[in-house]
Amino acid sequence: MNGTDVQFAICGSAGDGTIAAGDILKRTMALMGYKVIAFDIYPAEIRGFGKCISRVRVTTEQAYSLKHQSDVLMSLNDAHAIPHVGEVRDFGAVIYDNAPIARLPEGGHVSAHIRPMQLPYGVSFRSISDRATGNARGRNIVALGYLAGLYGMPAEAFHQTIANKFATKPQAVTDANVRAFEAGYEAAIGTFKLDDVVMGSPLHRADGARAVMMTGNGAVVRGLMDAGIDCYFGYPITPATTIMERLAVEMPRRGGRMLQTEDEISAIAATIGAGYAGARSATATSGPGLALMAEMLGLGVMAEVPSVVIVSQRGGPSTGMPTKTEQSDLNMAVFGGAGDARRIVLAPTNVEGCYRCAGLAFELAEKFQTPVIVLLDLYLSNRYETVIPPKENPFEPKQATGPQGPVFRRFELTESGVSPRAVPGQAGGVHTITGLEHNELGRPSDQPDNHVAMSAKRYRKLEPATRYPGLTTIKRFGAAGKVDIGILGWGSTFGEILEAMFEAENEGISCSAMKVVMLSPLPVDELEAFFADCRVVLVPELNHEGQLATLVSGTLGRPVVRLPRATGAPMRVDEILAEVRRLAAETAAAAE
């Protein structure tokens, strides 16, 4: 990547202000016009001193994933930071407090672990904070100021971000933090910079004013809000909870209604109830919650009620690893529940995609009268990217509903499979919907011909969804035409896939990548074309068995090479790259 490409990692324990420092850093970088991608890791425990890491990659052009190596590590807690010193590249920097209070045994200080090619920077965050603000609480901001000073970032931009962050607090809070920042900045001015990390100028300075830092979950919220969400029902579950928390703030201000329900079953039931009554309604959950929702989603399919379900996956099965990322709920999202219950499943690959998919999910749900699942994972839900919000709201308002004709056939067998719809309150549209198989009028029917016709209708109506205007359902990147290696991916992992693919291209490997955003129904024609162009198709994904691999391979009847990884951490670019190299060598050998 040309231009600036610097990844900062800030590591401390809960209570050190680690995430807050990272937050100010990434927002400032975005404000300056850099592109940012960032991911915070929190401890699973609520109390105590669990490890927090904030990683912020700052680039001139938007990066697709975090880097495997950081350029700069800042330690706010050595015990937590020590295992991460190794992630700093040669000639990168490790910044730490050189005056800890507690007496440390040998190796207890982070400086003991700095490799000969990494550059140490010891600063007394604590005493600088104490001098500047009268207490040591501001040491995270001192550290941030030091970082900013060391790399020559403009202090004013940080002041603005700090003021924004503490806007709802008394002015004294902002003032103290600015003083702490300035003191740290000052300390850096007197420091001799020995590492070779360079922050170049941002290319997109003009974008800075409009750019916002958004997480995947934050983008989901924006998408839902811009699409005019009326009702939300949810039950807290990591990593989806932040969606509900933000909607709780924003929906009442715009006349929407957010209700925390007693469980996930209630959440999806009320979502479908509100959808039946004509609202744009949504819920958000994670894998265990989706499992509880499976029966109700089947009802949504059978009764043809629009609803939107955001699912942020985490490590599974069962309670699994709530604070670790994984892509292992594809099977459940696509197939979960009783019977032949096809629904629409979208899996955005980046933060901007989360916005589009969340908003368009309402359109799709209404247009095709079906539940729509938007499948994220923890890594995408929680990672930050710079997003330039669209100038115009890109989403269509609610579709008109109403009975057609003298006899209202709610489940009329039309050519498209989509039937006229009326909502309660509309005269002439009175009807009853049910989870029982039913005839065109909605009355229970278990006649064989009827079941065949109705099942076909429920599948047929979704087919055009793969070509829905304004929605990228599948897309190929890199070289067009015939290639040796195709990399097929979905969800958050696609960022790492792209980085690996571009690197492989640089190495002269003939390859290209394809992302599948719509997992159900699958865009089969585009997939067929991709498979026809690639000698080998590799499918890296974050689960144990290779769920997308099975889905695509089974649907097309074509072999794939699986690269499933379920460690709880995001996919590693170098691991994908190694597999691509291996396959490229095999392909070359086979060709000889």
Binding site: I101, A102, R103, L104, H109, I114, P116, L119, Y121, F192
Partner: protein, 340 residues
């Protein structure tokens, strides 16, 4: 199986580096830790004058590929200042509050610039050249063809002066007692040497003592002398010999004078502590006194010797004084301190 010994070497210069690699060669199972205030891996201080000729990246000054620390299994602790040594408990305390236990300790912290009391207040207005960071700041402060005033001299300073002249800078040298430090020079020798110096292009300032240094606009410094005269210059560099860095050892319970007092085997009065390089004063049977042996060659020899003795050898340092400075047939100064 006996537990491996922990060797701790304080200082990562020539002496420390030579010692650590020697210990590794003689005791493959030992644990070796080097502690240094430097933030860089081992580079040669004697190479710093290259910076006047455009070398600005520290990586070009490294004496060794930093990979060797991993290869040799030497833990390099940079940016770490030792604040205390407990000679009985065999522990050392670092400024960042970490305590390290050792079995055998080698002190080779070298020396820092000796600044006369009268110039103490003007430290912020003077430029040093002892570390890469100082050298970088010095180079950065010098405009092309700029003026340097070197106070004192000493063999290190003279070396820098010659490099500055070669690089096209103007250099004034305020000569004094330490101009040829560490050589002990008789008055008649001194006159010859000064005459030779004057021929090199150095502007000699004689028979005057500095009384004050003042910051100015351009050029950035004014040096005032006791006769009321004043010299304008871009930078001022003090070279009055070096003083051993031993302040952190005051609580170690070992015999010290200006430096750490060691026997010819370089062992201190504590059986587990050795010293090598500019920091130590070695007992000389000839002189019946403890003496310093400066110069890079001595320093390297001492480091390796101490390491051998720490690992079981019983060798002694050759305390015969080979320190010689003279003007050769071409009128050039030759010194055993330099090897170029």
């Amino acid at each position: 199986m006996t537990e491996s010994l922990h060797y701790v070497v304080i200082g990562s210069g020539s002496a420390g580096h030579g010692a650590a690699t020697t210990i590794r060669a003689r005791d493959p199972g030992a644990r070796i830790t080097m502690i240094t205030m430097s933030r860089l891996p081992f580079y040669n201080r004697y190479d710093l004058p290259k910076m006047f000729k455009g070398v600005t990246d520290w990586r070009d000054l490294l004496a060794e590929d930093p990979k060797i620390y991993d290869e040799l299994g030497i833990t390099l602790r940079r940016n770490s200042r030792v604040v205390d040594i407990d000679g009985r408990a065999r522990t050392i305390a670092l400024a960042h509050n970490e305590v390290i236990a050792y079995d055998k300790l080698l002190v080779c912290t070298g020396g820092g610039p000796n600044v006369p009391a009268i110039l103490e207040d003007y430290r912020p207005l003077m430029h040093g050249f002892g570390t890469f960071e100082q050298a970088s700041a010095t180079v950065a402060a010098l405009p092309p063809g700029g003026q340097v005033v070197i106070l004192g001299g000493d063999m290190i300073g003279l070396d820098i002066a010659f490099n500055l002249l070669e690089a096209g800078y103007r250099v004034s040298l305020a000569v004094g007692e330490q101009t040829f430090w560490p050589h002990r020079v008789e008055p008649d020798e001194r006159a010859v040497l000064l005459k030779s110096l004057a021929k090199t292009g150095l502007d000699l300032i004689e028979d005057r003592s500095v009384v004050a240094i003042e910051a100015a606009d351009r050029p950035a410094r004014r040096v005032h002398f006791d006769d009321g005269s004043m010299v304008e210059t871009d930078i001022v560099m003090p070279f009055f010999g070096i003083l051993p860095i031993v302040d952190f050892m005051l609580g170690a319970g070992i015999d010290m004078e200006r430096g750490v007092l060691v026997d010819p085997a370089l062992k201190s009065s504590n059986d587990a502590i050795w010293a090598a390089g500019d920091v130590c004063q070695i007992w000389s049977d000839v002189d019946r006194d403890y003496r310093f042996y400066h110069g890079w060659k001595n320093v390297r020899v001492m480091g390796e010797l101490a390491a051998r003795n720490m690992t079981g050898a019983e060798e002694t340092f050759d305390t015969a004084d080979e320190s010689v400075i003279e003007v050769d047939g071409n009128g050039c100064i030759r010194s055993t301190f330099w090897e170029h």
